[in-house]
């Protein structure tokens, strides 16, 4: 690593010390305070700490923290990797993480989507993974089209390689300012923020791929390896030959979910789904050379298979082979409490985090048909507006025993009533455990509600 200026050295040392103090004082995990102090002493500290490292940034509305963890694991086959694994995804968090890690040849940083332009410049990142964009906390976040424009402007003219989701029209439009893109068929279950073309305002048309994907690789569903979308991975154009295996459909607008894998195009301009180099074929990731890599994740759901594909694609850019990296992904059991499984009072509890409509659709895909606790808050980090509950179709929960809790449980109650999903309201997590028979309990909660429940479970990681 190149020599840091004296000011940067001092700032780094203060940053590390403050983080340790913060942890020792029990005031936090030190993920932010150290960076904040360090940046006060040396505003260029993040740039100085980035010097000499090969850096990948991971951004998007959903899946950032998990994909960052998976990418860090994958890159680990090449050497030590610095990362902000605690989810502190703004420049103070990045600064803390790099200061704490010391010299490492690589860094993988989760970046809040609003901060991507700034962090791209500060870190001179070599690769940026763009996962997805959808509505999230509209009472303070930028609207989805504005967010895509912000990314597009930030990427214009920069020397950086992108690993981007070919299934999200907003991401594709943002990424298409450069031809330095590795496209991944990472899926898009939530379509309601991309019916209108971000480029021209025309209508986006989707054609669902008819290949039936198994629900969970661990559930023993039949594998579709060797069928279906493999042709796309071999680099063939998504033209007429692919359309033949698809069934045309016109999903209902406003119904939230659609097929996670659908070809799409603008009916008015040339924006369309690029041919992905990396695809998911049943329970395998298919690399650009057509190599199948069986996915063996502990993390549930189709969306995590997609996150794994993105992680492998980023790692491959740095020279890690998917065959070497895949076993590292299988070691990840939970991510800052997400997907964690805890035994308590004779119940096997699994924690799922879902912060916005797109995230809830994915959570319903991951959750097993077991008793389910839903918890909703609307504190600052969650966004103060609960209207989005009506963007989520809760009907996948029909037939399950549903408990509801959280600061805004009544909003959820009114929503479930209209959805004709019976539920029982509990005031506390302890009451929820008392109301659940021995066996499994799936917990789905938004951000602060999730943290509250995690705290009840001794801050499980």
């Amino acid at each position: 690593m190149p020599r840091k200026p004296l000011r940067a050295k001092l700032a780094t040392s203060v940053s590390k010390g403050a983080a340790a103090l913060s942890r020792a004082a029990g005031r936090g995990d030190g993920a932010v305070i150290g960076g904040r102090l360090g940046l006060m002493i040396d505003p260029e500290l993040l740039a100085h700490l980035s010097d000499g490292r090969r850096i990948a940034l991971i951004s998007g509305t959903n899946g950032k923290t998990t994909t960052t963890r998976l990418t860090t694991a994958a890159l680990g086959v090449l050497g030590p990797v610095a990362t902000n694994s605690l989810g502190a995804n703004m420049p103070t968090g990045h600064t803390s993480a790099l200061a704490k890690a010391g010299d490492t040849p690589y860094a993988v940083l989760e970046v809040d989507e609003h901060y991507l332009p700034q962090v791209l410049v500060s870190t001179s990142a070599e690769v940026v993974a763009l996962l997805n964009l959808s509505r999230d906390q509209l009472d303070r976040a930028k609207e989805v089209a504005m967010m895509a424009q912000l990314w597009r402007d930030a990427l214009q003219g920069r020397t950086v390689h992108l690993v981007a989701n070919a299934d999200d029209p907003m991401v594709v439009w943002a990424a298409s300012v450069t031809d330095q893109v590795t496209w991944v068929a990472a899926g898009q279950r939530w379509h309601d923020d991309s019916w209108v073309c971000p480029k021209c305002g025309g209508a986006i048309e989707r054609v669902e791929v008819s290949v039936e994907l198994p629900r969970d690789p661990l559930a023993g569903a039949p594998s579709t390896a060797g069928e279906g979308t493999a042709g796309e991975g071999a680099g063939e154009p998504t033209g007429a030959d692919v359309v033949e295996v698809e069934t045309a459909s016109q999903p209902t607008i406003g119904s939230g979910g659609g097929a996670p894998d659908a070809d799409w195009r603008c009916t008015n301009c040339d924006l369309r789904r690029p041919t992905p180099q990396w695809t998911i074929d049943g329970t395998a990731v298919v690399d650009p050379d057509g190599g199948h890599h069986e996915i063996s994740l502990q993390l549930p759901g189709r969306v995590n298979r997609a996150n794994a594909a993105v992680a492998l694609a980023v790692a491959a850019w740095f020279g890690a082979s998917p065959a070497d990296a895949m076993p590292r992904l299988a070691e990840v059991a939970s991510v800052a409490g997400r997907y964690a499984q805890v035994q308590r009072d004779g119940k096997a509890i699994r924690l799922l985090l879902a912060k916005n409509p797109a995230g809830w659709l994915e959570a319903f895909d991951m959750a097993d048909p077991e008793p389910t606790l839903l918890s909703i808050n609307a504190r600052d980090p969650d966004g103060l507006d609960t209207s989005w509950l009506f963007d989520v179709d809760f009907s996948p929960l029909a037939g399950r025993s549903v408990l509801i809790t959280g600061d805004r449980a009544f909003d959820l109650a009114v929503r479930l009533e209209v959805n004709e999903i019976p539920f029982r309201h509990v005031r506390t997590f302890a009451e929820a455990l008392g109301a659940t028979p021995p066996g499994r309990l799936e917990v789905i909660a938004n951000y602060t509600a999730f943290q509250d429940i995690r705290a009840e479970l001794d801050r499980v990681n």
Binding site: R135, R140, A145, I253, G254, D385, S387, W388, F390, R415
Partner: protein, 244 residues
């Protein structure tokens, strides 16, 4: 159940005007009609389809600037909504949908012509209005306190041809004093997204207007009542903290 007798609810342009839970109003209305044994037909009309003239209730949601301007253009060219209002169909319009029912509104820095179905004009306010909204509803409508969440940059000025929906007690609404507007069977509000889920009596008013029934069988609204109590309690607590 014959199509003739079904209550027809049209969600206008969900491809352009559906920002945040706007589907909720459609769901609330159809559920409340359903529970009264009123047959319902719901229909979503995209912006490239003609707006049917003969439905009973029309719903318009919120939207970003670009889609809002496009929706106004297409609705004006289509003419279906205007003809429906001429035959006294019921309209509930929220946020961007509310603004575009007026004479004019601002989108993308420009003054855009509205549909002229309500005597009001909207422009840009000095700040964005984001947060809980509450108000005492026009006594003529006989409804309890309005509660909702607003998120908009516009200010709306009412002309003599409309009445305010409510007097603001928390939040901004039209201009900090009044919120929403109504005239005949057309009603607009800044209470965005699923406004009817918090205001079941407003949902029932729209159903009564649409069916001509004087009264509807009461429903078990215990959860909606708890939600209303909680939200109105929150803004009252905030009010007394700032004034006391």
């Amino acid at each position: 159940m014959s199509t003739e007798s079904a209550l027809r609810i049209v969600w206008v342009y969900p491809d352009l005007l559906s920002t945040y839970g706007d589907r909720g109003n459609l769901l609330s209305l159809s559920r409340r009609a359903d529970l009264r044994g009123l047959p319902v037909e719901c229909c979503e009309v995209r912006s490239d389809q003609p707006v049917p003239v003969d439905a009973d209730i029309y719903l318009l949601g919120g939207g970003e600037d670009g889609p809002q301007a496009l929706a106004a253009e297409r609705l004006t060219a289509d003419g279906g909504l205007r003809r429906a209002v001429d035959r006294r169909a019921v309209v509930l319009a929220v946020c961007a949908g509310y603004q575009l029912l007026g004479e004019s509104f601002f989108a993308k820095g420009q003054k855009c012509p509205g549909l002229g179905l309500l005597d009001l004009r909207s422009d840009r306010g000095p700040t964005r209005a984001v947060g809980e909204l509450a108000g005492e509803v026009d006594p003529e409508l006989g409804l309890p306190t309005l509660t909702g969440f607003e998120n908009h940059g516009g200010r709306t000025h009412l002309g003599p041809g409309v009445r305010a929906l409510a007097k603001v007690t928390a939040g901004i609404g039209n201009d900090g004093a009044t919120e929403g507007a109504w005239s005949g069977s057309v009603l607009g509000t800044y209470s965005h997204g699923p406004a009817l889920s918090r205001n079941p009596a407003l949902a029932d008013l729209l159903l009564r207007w649409a069916t001509g029934l004087d009264a509807l069988e009461p429903l078990d609204d215990v959860w909606a009542s708890k939600l209303r109590g909680e939200r109105l309690g929150t803004v009252r607590a905030r009010e007394s903290r700032t004034t006391g």
